[in-house]
Assembly symmetry: C2
Homo-oligomer: 203 residues x 2
């Protein structure tokens, strides 16, 4: 099956609707989703941003929250604006990185996004991540221990370097037959590109 790489960041607002809808869309298109957790923080820092651009540029931020509200309403998924934004997503990303190939991973990813953006739960806390794991049918304690191992911290760092090498600068991003698409609103085009990887077939 052709693969669609899904590069997501748990703190990223537009990654939330993308994570909610990508699996069903890929299934329908006959594509495999490759779940690629990464961190935007180190990428933003390299271009001089020490906060989310949606906080640095409040007019854009105000627009983004309203846009997200419209998107979530259209998808019929709940949205509660997190009381802290962006939430540090390192712990959640480490779990996702360590267990990226597990069959329960996609459900765990959706649970974390739901906790952050629909329940305003503090996903920096191990017990919240444990709850997300349990909601995905997994007992959390050993999983988190494994995620915190030094080799997995390195693996996540490497993942960020891979994102940079691919030209990724925001989330969500999609890699379809070596072609990069950025933004939840490009998911349809990314799927189309998997099927016909050319400038002509994407209308």
């Amino acid at each position: 099956m052709v693969a669609l790489e899904f590069w997501f960041e748990f703190a990223s607002t537009y990654s939330y609707p993308a994570a909610a809808r990508i699996q069903a869309m890929a299934d329908q298109a006959g594509l495999t989703v490759v779940w690629q957790p990464f961190l935007l923080g180190p990428i933003f820092q390299r271009q001089g941003w020490h906060d989310s651009p949606f906080n640095l540029y409040p007019v854009q931020g105000r627009y983004m929250w309203r846009d997200l509200e419209r998107i979530c309403a259209a998808l019929n998924i709940p949205l509660r604006r997190p009381s802290v934004f962006p939430r540090n997503s390192v712990l959640a990303a480490r779990v996702a990185c360590a267990f990226a190939a597990e069959p329960w991973l996609p459900d765990f990813v959706r649970q974390v996004f739901h906790a952050n953006f629909a329940e305003d739960l503090d996903i920096t806390k191990p017990d919240i991540i444990q709850t997300c794991l349990e909601r995905s049918g997994i007992s959390g304690h050993r999983i988190i221990e494994r995620a915190l191992a030094p080799d997995n911290k390195d693996a996540l760092r490497l993942q960020v370097e891979r994102a940079v090498a691919l030209g990724i600068f925001g989330a969500p991003s999609f890699l379809a037959a070596d072609e990069l698409f950025w933004g939840n609103d490009r998911l349809e085009q990314a799927i189309a590109w998997c099927k016909v990887p050319s400038l002509v077939g994407i209308a």
Copy 2:
């Protein structure tokens, strides 16, 4: 007829495909397009940007040009990357501002975008703007004279202030029943919002 406000900037890459397709889409939806030229430069400067963010952040810039290539291919409109970007759009915006209500204005707008993004012509030059006017069936000389009058310079400044007051921070932007949409990729939603201005009807 319900009105869809189209806020565009002649130097803005994503305004080019939006200008190319908005009239036919609005016609089909039974909407009037209100053409609202403005300048992004003064808005960017207020948030500390003294160049296009696509130049300030070259990774984003590289992605944007490829994304634009895909979009133009899908719409079957020509694209030649301008040798100067962003081109100063003040003269073109002054003409559009002075004659915003003229029946030839939409065609002139498309001609200027075509000159800049399909022909790599220098739209800062009066003779190129005159060519764009002539291609729209208008003799250019007196038009440009009128556009350079002090009261029209003030009118364009006022137009920028109106954009700021509306929360506009990028181009193209669409105003549909007081709801703001940003980006060529939001044109469909803006049109849908004109018809059903609610969070439910935009799927």
